[in-house]
């Protein structure tokens, strides 16, 4: 089945991974990063992926969000079976369902704050991209920084722009990979507050990678990864 057809729209599970493993070949031979991961995430749920550095959290997040392919196993995202799609179709699925917040912000250097936030809607060809972006920037408290470039913003401000951009796509699932990892505690918690409140507002499913126990505690559910496996 290679077509991006919805299989059951009423299913409450938005993200589903069954027996997912990831093996990469390195110069020192094969490296098993993930092994036999089974995971279901329900719509509207907020889930924390926790674990030590190097345990495989980011790899799993990438696979769940359709950024990367598992070596084996099946991944479903909303109505799509991601593992049956090619990159072209996965991109379409991402554009439709997914938002991201990254540890390293990942704003486009050549675009202003406003243009960064406008980007997802623009890519979809939406007409009111600008109004929506203005609104979202106001929502994250950056209404006066429209024309500023990423390099003219502090880390916290950049991450707020990134959060605004993530919600601009009106995603079903928001994936956040250590969104506070590059920020100080105070700024970090402000960002987290922002993510959670927007999450409520837009009724988004949240998948949050963190090694911060307190942050994980704010989520509905917490899954621990160790050595590439889920340890309960």
């Amino acid at each position: 089945m290679t077509q991006a057809t919805p299989n059951d729209a009423t299913q409450p599970t938005v993200v589903q991974a069954s027996n997912v493993s990831k093996v990469v070949s390195t110069s020192e031979g094969e490296l098993r990063i993930l092994a036999g991961i089974d995971l279901e995430i329900n719509a509207g749920e907020s889930l924390a992926l926790v674990g030590a550095s190097g345990s495989g959290k980011t790899t799993l997040l990438g696979i769940l969000a359709g950024l990367d392919e598992p070596t084996s196993g099946v991944v479903r995202l909303g109505p799509y079976e991601l593992t049956a799609l090619d990159e072209e179709q996965r991109a379409k699925a991402r554009g439709e369902l997914v938002g991201f917040v990254f540890q390293t912000f990942q704003l486009l250097e050549s675009l202003t704050a406003l243009e960064n936030v406008m980007l997802p809607s623009e890519l979809r060809g939406s007409r009111d991209a600008r109004e929506q972006a203005v609104e979202l920037l106001a929502r994250v408290g950056l209404e006066h920084r429209h024309g500023h470039y990423p390099r003219q913003l502090s880390g916290g401000e950049q991450q707020r722009v990134a959060v605004a951009r993530a919600f601009a796509a009106q995603p079903k699932v928001l994936f956040a990979d250590e969104p506070t990892g590059n920020l100080d505690t105070a700024t970090g918690s402000k960002i987290v507050d922002l993510i959670f409140s927007l999450n409520q507002e837009f009724a988004t499913t949240l998948v949050l990678v963190t090694h911060d126990e307190r942050l994980a505690a704010r989520c509905d559910r917490s899954v621990t990864i160790a050595f590439g496996e889920i340890s309960q």
């Binding site: 980011t58 990942q106 250097e109």
Partner: protein
């Protein structure tokens, strides 16, 4: 194609300056091709026009017999202008005892078809251009004839039976000296007056010419129409002045090669700029992909960006190229007072296509590459793109280079040479470069901290540095190649007409006059050549076949083999003359009594005559048979008397003979001719000093063009340097920010950079020097027919040029890197 996204990306990248270098490189490629070809196009036309002045026409048909009137009709049918001229020597009389042998040129209205006539208001006055011709019943005379004949303007002289009035002083006409037998002081008259003189009798020495002017295609077609008979020759600039012909051909090749090098260098800059742009966009693309943009949309929009950039660059390049060529024309205005014909569209088409090829072959692969960037790049930076597309880049770049080379040189062999040479160079120098880089590390461990850091940093990024070194080395190599070729061409052109080369020929000398003349030349301290015996004759039979049958047997009517039956100067010598070299056969023994003949190689080939053939000659009605026993090669550019046909001594002894010799007469001793002509009234003097001056002026113009090309190539080369330094800038930036964050002073960073760049440049320069020396040796022997020689100064200049250029350009383009606060650098502000 997602134009909206493309436009958005293009506009935003442009605004942030990311596309600047790519755009600039494309503009330089387009502009240099456009400027060079516009300039060459116009210069070529101008030079051809000027060369046509030597003939006073584009082509002419010459014969010693009257040309059929049908020729004029045929010319008219082809829309080709045609004018008759007739040249003959004649004695003119002024009063009872004064007379003088003159060279009469009779012309019909319309003469000259190219170039201008000049007249002076009094003998030995300054000539001014005139559109007029002598009226019927009038003649114009050379200054020298006025004292010789004791006449003044308005006087009457007798030419044969006709009495004609002297109405003007002629100082020059375009086709004077254009042929070897247009001698002596000139008398210009009208064709219509010739019958009245009754000097034109069977047996007189006559040269009929039908001058022609028209389009090249029409002229070539007309040549077919004429179906020339033996004794009728078709003459263009190449036939009449081989030295100008070959100078033009070489200049053309050089200019095109130069243009090609400029484009290739700019292409190299395009590759680097595109690669850098793409690399900087990996994150960009990854983010777009996480936002749901698929690979095809990415491809489409980035190709769109590229096409937009290409379109703008081509437009700007054409405008810049056009402006540049105007600037050059303005700058050369004083040196080139010729009116240039308007430019055609061809150069603009050439520029546009070059821009497209550069875009497709050099920039597109890097852009296609972007399609494969993994969205995981957002999280993990080191993923890059998949390697297979590298093969794509290399093969597309190679295809582009081959296409450009083939298109510009129109020469498969030259293309293969250039390609093979470049590949071999790259492989050898890759290895050599690696070795050199290793060497610097060994050196570095012995050095102070500044040097150690610089050299270690060279060694640390040795892969990128190797590539950069090869790229810069290639650029330096191309620049050096051009400098070397230019020097070789110029010095060869200068040698072509050495100081003191004979510029006057004396003909019609009686055997007993030869020692007298030589004594006079000796007395005036004028250097002169040996004297050659001369007999006029033509080939009538080859191996028993008549000239016509022989030509038919050759089968190829369009070959210049047609010249077999035309009248030639025959001579004899015991020894091989100076400037001649034996190609095949054997030179005759001193005592040989047999009738042997030696032919010029090219003449023999065109005539379809080979070693051992028996030729029958007609000399003034008497016949003579001789066997071809050797073939010679001549130095046509030597400006010395040259003979196609040389007999063994004795063979021509019984025929009436005259002698010719040549000597060099400086401009300020021109009056010497008066005395000479007074003591030897029957000889004829051919003055080629004007011709030589003309050749020199053409050469100096070609030199200007050559110089221009060199500058353009230099600009393109510098662009490569900037592009390649820009390419490594991102990596260096982080390193040096770190260095400064760790407490390194600005001076330390600057010093490190300077040393690193200079060392890189020196290594690249060494590579470039070796490459240039080898390539030039090959090019000179293969493409330009010049002897190869070594240039030790290049070995010094190459590394020095490399060090200075790279350090200079490098320091300028990384200036901001040094002065930016390290924190901003770490945060990614560039």
């Amino acid at each position: 194609m997602n134009w909206r996204l493309s436009r958005m990306l293009a506009w935003r990248d442009w605004r942030s300056g990311e596309l600047g270098l790519l755009m600039l490189a494309l503009v330089v490629a387009v502009a240099s091709v456009t400027a060079i070809s516009l300039f060459v196009d116009r210069l070529q036309q101008a030079m051809l026009n000027e060369s046509a002045d030597f003939l006073a026409a584009d082509r002419y048909v010459g014969s010693s017999r009257e040309l059929p009137p049908s020729f004029r009709d045929l010319a008219q049918a082809r829309n080709v202008q045609a004018v008759d001229t007739l040249l003959f020597p004649s004695m003119v009389f002024a009063g009872e005892e004064l007379n003088q042998l003159v060279s009469v040129k009779a012309v019909s209205p319309g003469y000259p078809l190219r170039g201008r006539l000049r007249v002076a208001t009094q003998p030995f006055g300054v000539g001014v251009v005139t559109q007029a011709l002598p009226e019927l019943g009038e003649v114009w005379l050379d200054s020298r004839l006025f004292p010789a004949l004791g006449v003044a303007l308005g006087d009457t002289i007798e030419v044969g039976l006709a009495k004609l009035t002297i109405s003007n002083v002629i100082t020059s006409e375009p086709d004077r000296g254009g042929g070897m037998f247009d001698w002596g002081p000139r008398l210009l008259m009208r064709m219509a007056d010739v019958p009245a003189t009754e000097v034109v009798q069977p047996g007189s020495r006559l040269t009929y010419r039908l001058l022609l002017r028209g389009d090249d295609d029409d002229l070539e077609a007309l040549k077919e129409d004429f179906d020339l008979q033996p004794g009728q020759s078709w003459v263009g600039i190449k036939e009449s002045s081989p030295s100008i012909g070959s100078a033009l051909a070489r200049a053309e090749r050089f200019l095109l090669l130069g243009g090609l090098l400029a484009v290739l260098l700019a292409g190299l800059a395009v590759v680097l700029a595109a690669a850098r742009y793409a690399r900087r966009h990996y994150d960009h693309v990854a983010v777009l992909k996480t936002l749901g943009t698929g690979p095809n949309a990415i491809l489409a929009s980035y190709v769109g960006v590229l096409l937009l950039v290409a379109a703008v660059a081509i437009a700007v390049g054409l405008i810049v190229g056009f402006g540049l060529h105007w600037l050059i024309l303005l700058a050369l205005q004083e040196l080139m007072p010729i009116e240039l014909p308007p430019p055609g569209v061809r150069p603009l088409v050439l520029g546009s296509i070059t821009g497209l090829i550069c875009t497709m072959a050099f920039a597109l692969p890097a852009f296609i590459h972007l399609r494969n960037v993994s969205p995981m790049n957002v999280i993990r930076r080191d993923l890059g793109a998949t390697p297979p597309s590298r093969y794509l880049s290399y093969s597309m770049a190679a295809a582009g280079v081959i296409a450009l080379l083939l298109w510009y040189t129109q020469d498969v062999l030259l293309t293969l040479w250039a390609l093979g040479g470049t590949s071999l160079t790259l492989v050898i120098f890759g290895a050599l470069g690696l070795l050199l880089l290793r060497g610097t590390r060994v050196l570095g461990t012995q050095a102070g901290s500044l040097w150690r850091f610089a050299l270690a940093s060279l060694q640390r990024r040795h892969r990128e540095n190797l590539v950069q070194m090869l790229v810069i080395g290639l650029a330096i190599m191309l620049i050096l190649i051009l400098v070397l070729l230019r020097t070789a061409l110029l010095s060869e052109w200068q040698q072509q007409i050495p100081e003191g080369a004979p510029n006057h020929f004396v003909m019609n000398l009686q055997p007993e006059q030869v020692p007298e003349l030589q004594a006079q030349l000796d007395a005036a301290q004028l250097p002169f050549d040996e004297a050659f015996a001369m007999v006029r004759g033509r080939v009538v039979e080859v191996n028993g076949l008549s000239a016509k049958e022989h030509r038919a047997a050759q089968g190829e009517q369009d070959r210049p083999g047609a010249n077999i039956g035309s009248e030639r100067n025959l001579t004899w010598t015991a020894t091989l003359p100076q400037g001649n070299s034996l190609v095949s056969g054997q030179w005759w023994a001193e005592a040989s009594a047999a009738s042997e003949v030696s032919l010029e190689e090219e003449y023999a080939r065109e005539a379809g005559v080979s070693l051992g053939d028996e030729l029958r000659f007609d000399i003034g009605g008497r016949q003579l048979t001789a066997r071809v026993t050797s073939l010679r090669r001549l130095d046509w550019e030597s400006m010395r008397p040259n003979f196609f046909i040389i007999f063994s001594p004795g063979a021509l002894e019984s025929f009436p003979v005259t002698y010719m010799t040549s000597f060099h007469l400086p401009v300020d001793q021109k009056r010497f001719l008066n005395g000479l002509l007074t003591s030897f009234p029957t000889v004829t003097v051919i003055e080629v000093d004007a011709l030589i001056a003309r050749i020199q002026s053409i050469i100096s113009r070609v030199t200007q063009a050559v110089e221009l090309v060199l500058y353009l190539v230099l600009v393109a080369g510098c662009l490569v340097l900037v592009a390649s330094i820009q390419a490594s800038r991102d990596a260096r930036m982080h390193e040096h920010a770190l260095l400064r964050a760790l407490g390194g002073t600005r001076a330390l960073v600057a010093g490190t950079l300077a040393i690193e760049f200079a060392a890189l440049g020196m290594l690249a320069g060494t590579i470039g020097a070796i490459g240039a020396e080898v390539t030039v040796a090959l090019l000179q022997t293969q493409a330009f027919d010049l002897p190869a020689r070594a240039h030790p100064w290049v070995w010094l200049l190459g590394p020095l040029l490399g060090a200075v250029l790279i350090a200079g350009v490098g320091m300028i383009s990384t200036r901001s890197l040094i002065s930016t606060p390290p924190m901003l650098v770490l945060r990614g502000l560039s």
